[in-house]
């Protein structure tokens, strides 16, 4: 343990030497010296010699005396402090139990040989197994299995939607019929009763479907995990074995179904160098896409490679993340609907994750809010402090079934505020971006997608100049944050995707692409020197 808060002391070094005319009369020299002395005593002697014009023949003597003085005083300093401690201990003036408990805890929590022995957690075991399998010939099989699972879920969701649609249709008809007969054969009470009944039916139906879906997801997840664990055992026994098919589903040879050509989207990539002397290379991608598309479920109907990428990277040190603008209430995230379209085999279901976050965040966030109010008492701020999460806060969810992200950073914003054109670099949303990039670097997230305009959609107040102004601010700040993070010793951000609303027109896109290349120094194409 560190000898905390050691109070340095100042001691006076005394030295005397005779005057040149009279041996009896002495010059007295007094130099205050900090104990323990950090610097070199010989340098101190030189300074003293110069400052007080002390004859040089005293140099050696002074060197010796001062070194001796410092070493003696340092020893005394330590001994005195320690003697005091031991005396206190003897007199029972110290909280011995407290000190020992502190050490015990410290050893137990931080040093392996004293820590409670615990093996790897189930999570870790599963992670290792999965990581190994997806980097083996089994990858193909795993992807097929997962995609067929996802299909089952999606089919059921389709059925549900179909069912609900029919129900709604029928109910609408019934209702229309009733309303037509209003005042002839039906009364208002009857209609109200019917509406109540319809509502009841709706919720029963959706509840039934929901529980069916849950059961399906649950079964899939359990079966898949069991199968994977069995597969890894086989694989470890014999590296050449390709795991047998999953028991739960047999899949027909995948028909190269009608491959939907991806809608053409505006996209441009840049390679940039950052840093004044030592240059770091990063990729930046500017793309006009609905950012929710980036966190849609991995459908697995496109080329296999696209499908494999997230699986290969899941337990690696190259994670990818998407920044999603969110409301203060985690459970209202649009992600819930999106991510549940396929079973989450690795982490908790997104709904559970978000509920968990809501609970865990509540206390620290409210404590913080309270402090804020107390601090800012003078200022009248009418923040809606009832909410735990405030603009600028960020929460994270983890996913294994999304197409382009392992992680989603939900950035809490106030959408009304974001509409305003004039936000500064000290705006909570910008500061939150800094936190996100920092956290990315600490947690091996090497590619991030974020909404460049800090809006998901275009709205009418977002004119060309508005967009350029906003983009400039965000890009400049992000550049600063990237520079800041490059020396921190964390993971380097390799790819930054900045997303524009899908409806962005060509003119705006071009303007922003130009802006981007102005703000970041592009790595020029390699040029061959003519000789």
């Amino acid at each position: 343990m560190a000898a905390e808060a050691v109070q340095n002391v100042t001691k006076t070094f005394k030295y005397s030497f005779p005057t040149c005319t009279n041996e009896e009369i002495l010059f007295n020299l007094e130099v205050p010296v900090d104990i323990p002395y950090e610097g070199s005593s010989r340098e101190l002697v030189q300074r003293v010699l110069k400052m007080f014009h002390i004859p040089v023949y005293l140099e050696d003597d002074l060197n010796e005396k001062l070194a001796e003085f410092i070493s003696e005083e340092t020893k005394n300093f330590h001994n005195k402090r320690d003697a005091k401690l031991i005396d206190q201990l003897k007199n029972g003036a110290l909280n011995v139990e407290g000190i020992i408990k502190g050490w015990e805890k410290n050893f137990k929590e931080n040093v392996l040989e004293f820590a409670e022995q615990k093996g790897s957690s189930d999570e870790e075991v599963f992670a290792t197994a999965y990581h190994k399998l997806v980097h083996s010939p089994a990858l193909e099989t795993i992807l097929q299995v997962e995609s067929s699972y996802a299909k089952t879920v999606m089919n059921m969701i389709q059925n549900r939607d179909e069912d609900i649609r029919k129900l709604t249709e029928r109910q609408t008809q019934e209702m229309e019929e009733k309303i037509r007969l209003l005042n002839t054969s039906t009364t208002e009470e009857e209609i109200n009763a019917l509406a109540a009944k319809h509502f009841e039916e709706q919720s029963v139906a959706s509840g039934r479907w929901e529980s069916q879906l849950d059961a399906l997801r649950h079964a899939q997840r359990a079966a898949h995990r069991a199968w994977l664990m069995a597969a890894i055992d086989d694989y470890q026994l014999n590296e050449n074995v390709t795991p047998s098919n999953s028991p739960l589903c047999t899949f027909p040879p995948e028909l190269p179904g009608p491959v939907q050509p991806a809608p053409p989207r505006l996209e441009e990539s840049f390679t940039i160098h950052l840093g004044s002397q030592l240059k770091q290379t990063h990729n930046i991608r500017l793309v006009a896409v609905d950012i929710l598309d980036l966190c849609s479920v991995n459908r697995g109907d496109s080329a296999t490679w696209n499908r494999a990428q997230p699986a290969l990277g899941l337990y690696s040190n190259d994670l990818s993340a998407v920044v999603l603008l969110a409301e203060h209430e985690p459970l209202r995230s649009p992600l819930v609907g999106l991510a549940r379209q396929a079973t989450e085999h690795h982490f908790d279901d997104v709904e559970i994750q978000l509920r968990d976050i809501t609970e865990k965040v509540k206390e620290p966030a409210e404590k913080r809010n309270l402090e804020r109010i107390q601090e800012g008492e003078g200022r009248s701020r009418n923040t809606r402090t009832k909410r735990a999460l405030q603009p600028g806060d960020v929460y994270l969810s983890r996913h294994s079934n999304l197409a382009d992200a392992h992680l989603v950073y939900h950035l809490v914003i106030d959408d009304e505020q974001m509409k305003a054109g004039d936000i500064t670099s000290r705006h909570p949303a910008i500061l939150a971006l800094r936190n996100i990039l920092k956290s990315a670097s600490c947690n091996d997230v090497t590619s991030i997608a974020l909404p460049l305009l800090l809006r998901h959609d275009l709205s009418e107040e977002m004119t060309m100049s508005w967009c350029v102004r906003r983009a400039e601010l965000v890009l400049k700040c992000v550049k600063g944050f990237m520079l800041e993070g490059s020396g921190g010793g964390g993971a380097e951000l390799r790819t930054l995707t900045v997303a524009l609303p899908a409806a962005t027109n060509q003119a705006l896109f071009t303007a922003l692409a130009d802006l981007l290349s102005n703000i970041f120094r592009l790595a020029g194409p390699v040029r061959q020197n003519k000789i």
């Binding site: 343990m1 560190a2 000898a3 070199s40 010989r42 030189q46 300074r47 020893k75 300093f77 330590h78 402090r81 320690d82 003697a83 401690l85 031991i86 201990l89 000190i99 050490w103 015990e104 410290n106 931080n110 040093v111 040989e113 004293f114 820590a115 999570e123 992670a127 160098h273 840093g275 004044s276 002397q277 030592l278 690696s316 040190n317 994670l319 968990d356 976050i357 865990k360 913080r368 999460l389 806060d393 929460y395 994270l396 983890r398 392992h406 992680l407 500061l431 939150a432 936190n435 996100i436 920092k438 956290s439 947690n443 921190g488 010793g489 964390g490 020029g524 040029r527 020197n529 003519k530």
Partner: protein, 803 residues
Amino acid sequence: MDDDENYKFAACTYFAKNHPGETCGSNGLPLTPSSVTILGRAQRLLTIEHKNLCTYLDIIRGKHERIIVVAEVIGKSLSEHTSRFSQQEVISIGVQVANAMTFLHDQNITHRTISDDNILIDNCGRVKLFNYGMYYMTDGGKEVQFPLGIPRYLSPEAILNGGGPSADVWSFGIILLELCIGKLWSNLKPGPILRRILTLVHANNPAERIAREHDCYDTYKALPDNLREIIEKCLKIYPSERATFLELLEDLKKINDQKPIDLKKARGLLGCKLQYLYYWWQLAGGDIISELKRNGLIKNSPPILSMPIAILLDGCTLGGKKNALFDRRIAKYSLKILKNRLAHISPHDFYPLMHERRKECDAVTLPKIIRERDTEYQFHRLLWFQRLLHGYPYTAQYIRAQAEIDIPPMVRGDVWAALLGVVGDIEDQYERIDKETPTPTDRQIDVDIPRCHQYCWLLCGRAGHRTLKRLLKAWLLTNPQYVYWQGLDSLTAPFLYLNFCNEARAFACLSAFVPKFLHKFFLKDNSAVIKEYLAKFWQMSTFHEPELAAHLHEINFVPELFAIPWFLTMFSHVFPLHKIVHLWDALLVEGPQLPLFMGVGILRQLRETLLDSGFNECILLFSDLPEIDIGECVKESIEMSRSTPRSISYRRFTNEPEIKDPMDAVEVPMETLLAEICPRISLTDFFSLTCQDKCCVVDIRSNLLYEKSCIEGSINVPYSGVHLGQHELRSLGLHPYKVLNEALTHKKTIVVASAEDETAQLFSEYLVKCKVPRVCILHGGISALNTHIPSLFTVPTKRNGHK
């Protein structure tokens, strides 16, 4: 056994503390990461050599605040020895440990973590302390989360969060006691052990009390009195009563009857410096991290499993990573791969002789960066340089000759010092300079240092900042004629980087470097010096890159706009350190004219882009210089420098003696220099070029004068007949066109000789616009040449058809 011998070094690893959230230092900049602080502090440990200490070889900063410490190992640790040691052995161990500790305490290093697993002993009974610097490098444990040391060796005052160097004496006492009566408190957990140690304060004789607790009282009493006395001198409750290691060493020596272990110095590979072995081992493919992983010391837990759940606006992170546990185990490394790699080397080659003809390695033709990664090449080079450096300063010329080929990175600091002629008691000189007293420039220095090469982990830490400041202050104090110009910090950085633990040498190098390369650059009014330098640089660009220079002239993109930091800092402000060292390697060997050509070399690499760019694009381009291939740049600049006559790059502001001989003079007033696009050549250089048939003289006097008497072999292009607007050599006439073209293909220097300066200037400018390289003006013109070397003149023969 055989295998054991291969294990020469080991590594251990731990995590530095993470700073909580959003903390900033007093200067408003983010706090230095703990790992950087540790790295900086640990540098000093790398320089410590003592026969009873395991030499530190490397401190590596890994991802996410990981620190890896690499150090020498021998034999086994005491804890791995299952058999008891005899009393004589115990005393011998005691002597050696006390010896090491005396040395450490002399150096003001407290060990604090002495334990039976970091005292190593080999089969011959040699003892060394392993990783004795944990307490020191972590600044007393402040930079790490985990507690240092293990409970049973902690002294009472250390448990109470106190403790100075004499806590080590206590731990040493416990070690001795354990060696005599067996392991103490072996089945207890940390809590109870600490409690027992604390209750010892009530005992009169703690050693006896411990022995009694372990039912070993009789064994203890059976020890010889003098040994027991020593143990008891260590295990005093009050630190002031404990003996010092110096006293203990004396006592132990008295009862030690074993002769000092005399090991024959190993020969061949194992006789080489351990630092070199480690270096070659890495070049041969040795990988520190992979072995740590294999031993489970670096665990790869997937990051996605330990994500935080939320980050609040103030940076407070909820959930996520837990502290990694500190694992005290070490991973040992076998030298096998290196031995295999160098197996075919004859024993002869380990002891290169200075005056023997050296066989060239094949690798010498490869680029420098590749040579620096070649095990065998570095093996030969390093041993050879080691030998040469031993003989310094008497071998200075050999070192220079070898440095011309390349400099092994391992000894770059030493070689640079040798090239700069650093000799004498530099420590003493440096000590005498006052680096502490505040001065008015301190403020500016404090602002600049946190912005100087901060990507380098050594320079961005506390230790780096402090040393850099001391160096700058020392230099300013010893050079009162100069002031602090921003950029001096960058200039100092490479020297600090290479001599991190040898401040005095870094200072001596800097002091020698400035007068040689940057004479008068740091004057308060340095405008004349800089102007001259830039004008000369401009002329050199014109000389070697006429087309580019003409273009830049045309768009008025003058060197004042971009090249001042290049030269003021000798490029150290522009490039990262790993490039600067290669640049300066060449600089130090080639001399002060090289930077001019390096500047040209950089322009040449950007040539195509610059030719396409207008003024604004150029400004943007240079505001953040693109990647430059330094190897190529150095190669070309050396070529240019060597092929350029000395007088062409002549500058007035150097510390070389003034030129008196009119034959060598090329000096012109500053205004003339600034006006001239092409450089001037001295008569001597001209004469030597003529003798080697390496120049083509264009005489631009009127043909009347020319026909009277002219330089032999010159062509006559009367200035009055030249159409300056037509940038086409053909327009000069057929004969001159042929001769000039011929001269260009033979890479001859074009010397413009005239009767007056003005026409020479204009004509040379014309040639440059015609993209003619290597154009210069004969200093003093025809008349000067005629006065000094009349023998060169002749009467031209009339050529046919040209009457």
